[in-house]
Symmetry: C2
Subunit: 341 residues, 2 copies
Amino acid sequence: MSSAAPRRRATGRVTLADVARAAGVSPITVSRALRGERAVARELSDRVHAAAATLGYVPDPAARALASSRSSLVVVLIPKLSNTLFVELLDAVQNGLVPAGYQTLIGVTHYDASEEEAVLRSFLAHRPAGLIVTGSDRSAAASAMIEGSGVPCVRVMEVGEEVGGYSVGFSQREAGRAITQRLLDSGRRRIAYVAAQLDPRTLERGQGYEEALAGAGLADRVHKVQSTEPSSMALGGAMLERVLREVPDTDAIFFCNDDLAQGALLAALRLGIAVPGRVAVAGFNDLAGSDQMVPPLTTVATPRREIGERAAQMLMQLMRGEPVETPHVDLGFRVVRRASA
Amino acid sequence: MSSAAPRRRATGRVTLADVARAAGVSPITVSRALRGERAVARELSDRVHAAAATLGYVPDPAARALASSRSSLVVVLIPKLSNTLFVELLDAVQNGLVPAGYQTLIGVTHYDASEEEAVLRSFLAHRPAGLIVTGSDRSAAASAMIEGSGVPCVRVMEVGEEVGGYSVGFSQREAGRAITQRLLDSGRRRIAYVAAQLDPRTLERGQGYEEALAGAGLADRVHKVQSTEPSSMALGGAMLERVLREVPDTDAIFFCNDDLAQGALLAALRLGIAVPGRVAVAGFNDLAGSDQMVPPLTTVATPRREIGERAAQMLMQLMRGEPVETPHVDLGFRVVRRASA
DNA sequence: CTGAAAGCGCTTACAG
DNA sequence: CTGAAAGCGCTTACAG
């Protein structure tokens, strides 16, 4: 009730200073003890931890970020939330990062360069400790922002040794080639490639498809169909019908994603189109349900969970300033032979 | 190169002070002009905005949060990322919040009370501007943390008028009753209810199921089967087999989620079990693919996207301190009659 | 309508 | 191994 009380803006929050007072040490020592930095005398450290626990002290991330120019936030950029693939990737990343004390800020770019730039600008302002981005296909402006921020960054889904930096993924092109080869090996000669929305990885798979056909002397049989609609089961069914109508002797279709392939399989069932008798169907990613289809879907199993985990590990090393022995990790893929092709 | 240069920790960042200098006004005025607060003289405001634009000024969220005890972060708590339902909800919430300048911090609780508490503790430290949580079923500790934080909070998926606060959703119990009633109306008398992992909303649907049976004088026919495994298509198929084996005269099954029901439908196809001839199948949520099944799945369409949008709107009103006329919004549901039941 | 001062709660950079 | 001082970049609370 002093008449000359200083102006205060008490937030009611337990602060570092409170802990210091309770432990009988300086705030600096509390800061160091709690972060496990340097060697703080064992006894002091114990007192600090005890005091922090009794007071229920929770460090203020904003103050920490302001003082150190680095937050505990990790930004993850993915194209869409509607593709299970990215959600599983995200889940794996979170499982790695959250127990280590990081929080994840998720940015959805909708395959749009300017959206990606806007998201990056707003997220980079938070001074994230790290960055995980999908693929290597971003605008020069976006790349410059990442570069200029100095925030450690790991690219996922593709392995991009040429681009430098760090990446965890697999070769989309080779995977596309391998599944097409599988179709060729089973005797198919009129193989179409069907893709939905624009996605650089989808394009790479298409290249692999072309390579496989060329390798079999079937370069003139390349038949790529691209829809601008977003991927869905219904679209897969429609595409199946369309391809068989436009090129009736098509004997196999490689769909760029399992949701399309699943839709095609169900449409075939409804329409009485025999799979693989009349037409073989192959997908990509081995999403949930592909093994349950009738017939079960032949596809490429992609290691997105492992990619997420490895990327999280690698990023944590980078954030701690530790050396990363393998900057580009190729986790491979696996062709899963089931009954549809 | 002054010999008495003060110790500085230049971050290279463009600050409010830089903008103030460039615009020839005080930092305070820049702060106010940029936030659109109060009436700053039109001319000054214009100068400030121009200067900010030329300098490429981006406010520092950490400094802002520290000074104002409020960040631009909105915390969203969901049980799982593996259920499409929650991802769609999340997506809708983000679509509402991101354009308004908020960032979303996503917490996954895995249906675990202590995980939820840990996530809340760590996220609340960020002084979020708002909170969106799934359902009303949390520990007393978690509720106390939310309450004590003073952060505006909207509950989603259920409408909880009794609990107070704010909520957007629909009655899970009534929805469970309605779909069961649909089964009864089509002449089914041996109806089983199959649920997977523990979820309060799943339990409510089960209550609705019981009510419907009781209403039809079939209280003694209640047959609930609960698995502890996480929900999946494969589990749905297995549960179908199990129910028909254990209670052979079952003539309809209400699955608590569409993924289970889809799996059951595909298993039936494989096993040659006629649907709905031998057994009718109904699901819940109308997830992607349910309309593509063979036969198409009868289910309950739930408005998760609308729930996400409305919750985001409501939360923004609360965060701006505006009054909310309807604190509890019931968005209803819709029984979708297709061929499986 | 505008501003000078103080403060938000931490950590950095120096010293010792 | 420990600490006093300054600073991170904003906004609050007073004044005028």
